[in-house]
Symmetry: C3
Subunit: 343 residues, 3 copies
Amino acid sequence: MVSLASMSTSTLHKGVNVPKISRKCYSEFMSCSNLICKQSSVLSKVKPVSYDLSKSQFFLTKNPVDWEQTQKNLQCHSLSTERRCSFSIGEKFQLDDVIEGQQFDRDILNAIFEVARGMEKVEKNSPESQILKGYIMATLFYEPSTRTRLSFESAMKRLGGEVLTTENAREFSSAAKGETLEDTIRTVEGYSDIIVMRHFESGAARKAAATASIPIINAGDGPGEHPTQDDIKDYLTSKGVKWSESTNLMEVASECDVVYQTRIQRERFGERVDLYEEARGKYIVDRKVLDVMQKHAVVMHPLPRLDEITVEVDSDPRAAYFRQAKNGLYIRMALLKLLLVGW
Amino acid sequence: MVSLASMSTSTLHKGVNVPKISRKCYSEFMSCSNLICKQSSVLSKVKPVSYDLSKSQFFLTKNPVDWEQTQKNLQCHSLSTERRCSFSIGEKFQLDDVIEGQQFDRDILNAIFEVARGMEKVEKNSPESQILKGYIMATLFYEPSTRTRLSFESAMKRLGGEVLTTENAREFSSAAKGETLEDTIRTVEGYSDIIVMRHFESGAARKAAATASIPIINAGDGPGEHPTQDDIKDYLTSKGVKWSESTNLMEVASECDVVYQTRIQRERFGERVDLYEEARGKYIVDRKVLDVMQKHAVVMHPLPRLDEITVEVDSDPRAAYFRQAKNGLYIRMALLKLLLVGW
Amino acid sequence: MVSLASMSTSTLHKGVNVPKISRKCYSEFMSCSNLICKQSSVLSKVKPVSYDLSKSQFFLTKNPVDWEQTQKNLQCHSLSTERRCSFSIGEKFQLDDVIEGQQFDRDILNAIFEVARGMEKVEKNSPESQILKGYIMATLFYEPSTRTRLSFESAMKRLGGEVLTTENAREFSSAAKGETLEDTIRTVEGYSDIIVMRHFESGAARKAAATASIPIINAGDGPGEHPTQDDIKDYLTSKGVKWSESTNLMEVASECDVVYQTRIQRERFGERVDLYEEARGKYIVDRKVLDVMQKHAVVMHPLPRLDEITVEVDSDPRAAYFRQAKNGLYIRMALLKLLLVGW
């Protein structure tokens, strides 16, 4: 789920009164973030990788109209964040489906994080590990995404639930015979209590949710919701967020609280391997970057990672990307709980 | 499982003393059916879609010898049904394998339906939801059929059982190295308590059952058991069932209790797309057909459906096809229970 | 897991004080084996199929440098075994990962067999059937091996554990995007408690184990650990094991305790179908071979089997290959228990 994978990486805020006991996993992301630096993927359709928690979010993608022009846009961005917190733990909300990032405001995200913190503490064979006993989740994946699927399935099983899996629904299922998504959903909802869906078409999750009488979680539906770099700039400006662009990674890294690195996606370059090679080597987070980073800052990455972060960074306590993946599990556990049994 | 998918759609009988409380799901199919109308798929190897419960069943398929001749055979059939009921709930039977429709007589089918009715009432975390705890079902699919597989797996899990899954046994397993089906079965029976099998070769399920010391459920084995249209006519005649053919869908629909629509299977037409296009548009169940249908009648379909039933029909209470799919789940739960732990 | 599949077939030892009650399944393999006969696969990269329990093991593979020369090496081997037993049941050991056969000495193997014997007696819904409740095993298969995967998954489920499955990680996962195995392991270990891994590259399992903080079981990693025929001869000689080669199957079979047959792997012959055809028919275990075999001797095979053992052998009580597969399940149950909860 695009937005979900992102959510787990998006607690880039501050001022939240986090109880000491639950700071263990989230502390990096909870620490005061004034500046953030992220490598801009030069091509369109890059997934959003963080969300607006404190009106300081950024999305960096670019529609490649002109390859030469695009090259110039490969740069490092830093932006300031506000300090604000409005989440009150006592507030409840009703979650019916998880379709897109925009459905969550800061309060809901904080509430989900609060539940996720509880999930970190679920012990094997404790009563909490059985709260979804008897529930069945169907992972209806029209294109494979093993990492995402395993994370959801692990989340479901850690809460005592059961899983029905289809990893290649596009080729294998009735979809190949021309069945509509709505018909498939109507059938699968008879077999399960919640559907985690990944689809190749933009808007598929929303369509499924409109049909289904059970909750739908969007684990990605095509290139949907991926604003261009210009969209983001406009958005940030409209929200009054101060931001700047830079091509000097070292300088920005020294000021940021979070260096959010992403993979340059070769699959977006088609046959222009030369441009890919040029782009991928431009900003590498390595030991030298670590050396200038602040002590409390973290390096994040949605994974998979190629060599845009060197392995020498892995052992540094500021390397947060594997913890980040693990936190995605707790977020998914929280969402499953909220969708199936509520608060 | 061909015959199973069919069974759930085949309670086209009458006179059964159905307890009021269990009429919820089956009532459409339990109501007095005197006439039934079904679109004839013009080509051979179409699966049988209903079974003989009251000696009034029909199978409508046609071996396409002559394409032009075949076209003329695309017609709508109606037939009368007898009223008879011989099932006594107290009767028990021993079920070892589920291989083909012919192994079930009316009494056994009614007994299975009786168990299926109980399955509708299985609540999450009730003792009944754990009757197959500790049992393992292997879904050994030599060709993928996601819908069927998910339905069986959901059935197993709803009764507390576990599942081992192979969706593409043909390509992945030792079969690719030339292992016989018998050897594969002997190995897999060591890992599981029941095997649900789908195979591309006619007779494979029977062969597996002859080898296995655990129950086998046939979830489809190639073009097996698919009588031609002429076979059916002969069969019905030999059973003394009155039947007639018609090319007037509106007329027949107005008289029938059940309009059983099926998909025209494009995959059977090869390169004759023109013939497929001509055939598929011939009988469409739409609002106009609904308008002439009796109030108590139902529209059934084994799914997946393309446009042979228009979506405007879906919201009509007489549209039974999604309930039909859900009922297939209860039938599968019943079969798993009967095969693994008996009555 | 290559070594594991082998282990279950490798209890070719003697002198162990096996309690009467547990001799049921292992007795064939536990009986005094003085001589063993095994068809030599003529080509390289054949998996090892038995292990050194009494310093009498053999591996028979051959690097095909010269096809004509290779043909001559297709022969039947017999070798003597020592009689020695040093296993004391009271001894415990710590098992962290299962990577290769060499990590096990005779004592550890005997200890594993002891636990495996207990696994044969685990009843459905007994407390023993829940010892891995709450644990999650990920089967991370970079190349499909349905038989091996189902066996591990059955083992895990029979002990109450849960399973996350990827059957085609190579194509589907982040590996296709260039992610290193180490990164994948770091992510998947966040979702599971143990990883059963099959990989196409030699040494992959060892690499994974070095990275992971959870146990890794090697379910095969490429052509690793497959000594050539000459290596084996050298090894046996260096260990002081008496061995001999023969091209007379009947003669050797009449002397052996174990006839260990293997499949001639067509996939290793490339386009030389003629050589494959010549090789595969050379040594067939059939009724005639059975007739000369000793009464207590057994025929083993790692499966899948083509026609190198004829089906007429299956019904003979000395045909041990299907029991052998079932015993692999108990070995896997034992390993999972030892790795996850210890003794």
